[in-house]
Subunit: 197 residues, 2 copies
DNA sequence: CTGTCCTGACCGACCAGTCGGTACGCTTGT
DNA sequence: ACAAGCGTACCGACTGGTCGGTCAGGACAG
């Protein structure tokens, strides 16, 4: 650990955390490597010891978010119980975790196009798999006759995730609504728009 | 008109058009002024003759989009007829115009934070007024008992416009669905999630 | 002595914006 | 009729500064 500088948290994690915060605040292109390392209390050399490039740092952020969301969705989708309940739970959860990690969400949808072409493709593919898993849940309910099927499941998923991704532009933690409240409302809206009753 | 160069379209309009295309493709910060003027077939001097700065060019794009959308919403909202029909028509229209101007939409939600603080505030305020007009339409239906009122109109509007703004990330004009088709589906989803029947 | 972690000066590329100058048509005085 | 004067449109080399990334080496643990 070389010289005991300031914090106990490992340098690598501090760099990712500060980068996330700054990218969310100013955007990827408007944040210099110098600002990131200054915020983390190290120098450029340290950053380039752990990451190959500024892009690599961004890639790390995407990887973390995708891993977590995919894991959680799988958990909810593969649970027992009626499909409507599983979908409602999964929808609520994605909203709550998005609100709990708003900075990640802001970076995700604002800076995706700054990734290098290959990394961009990888991220898109993983994101696509995630959407497909969600879509299958909707389609399952449609086949079972629980959901209306006059609107393609693909559209429904695009509609719902658009709403979720945009939370970063208007949701404020100090506002009148908590994450779980927003989650319940969003899940209600989704389920209701699919409702057959 | 000075020297007859190449195209007939005025230089100013060509600059805005090419800037929109490039900003949508690469993002504001990753597009150099040099690239914009090269695409428009002029030089930097010409651009700085018409615009005060690169930011000013971005501002112009926002102004154009906001003016058009506000105007159209007012038209649909102030029309005659039941509130459910007016809301459906307005919702369909905003989707169709978004799809018809996808580049504008991409620039809008990806590069907003690159505007100077004052301009940013102005744009946010105008955007806010737009949302409020839409929210009032929802609230009107709720008061009239046509829409369910157990979810705040504010949330419903945030939900719907999230979906619309995110069209830019996944809608493709060559895909299987046309703008009006997406518009109808989106408006159906909105109305259905508000449905009382 | 060796590998890991980290420093900070430095480099070449690039970028937004500037500025002195040019081309050309419209107005005005004679 | 004509030239002088002027304003608008545009050119493109240049500048001051910033940025991502490099590198030679120092400090410390095992």
């Amino acid at each position: 650990m070389a010289r005991g500088t300031t914090t106990e948290e490992p340098v690598r994690q501090r760099l990712v955390a500060e980068a996330t915060r700054l990218f969310a605040e100013r955007g990827f292109e408007s944040t210099s490597v110098q600002e990131i390392v200054a915020a983390a209390g190290v120098t450029k050399g340290a950053m380039y010891h752990y990451f190959a490039s500024k892009d690599d740092l961004l890639h790390e952020i995407y990887g973390r978010v995708l891993r977590m969301q995919t894991e959680r969705l799988t958990m909810f989708a593969d649970a027992a119980g009626p499909v409507a309940e599983r979908l409602h739970a999964a929808a609520t959860d994605v909203v709550v975790t998005t609100v709990d990690n708003l900075d990640d969400s802001k970076v995700f949808f604002r800076s995706m196009h700054q990734l290098s072409p290959e990394v961009y493709k990888t991220v898109r593919a993983e994101r696509r798999r995630y959407h497909e898993r969600f879509r299958d849940l909707v389609a399952e309910g449609q086949r079972a006759g629980v959901f209306r099927d006059d609107i393609p499941a693909e559209i429904v998923v695009g509609f719902f995730f658009g709403s979720v991704h945009h939370l970063g532009t208007w949701y404020h933690p100090d506002g009148p609504l908590s994450g779980p409240e927003i989650g319940r409302h969003f899940a209600d809206l989704l389920l209701r728009s699919l409702g057959n009753a």
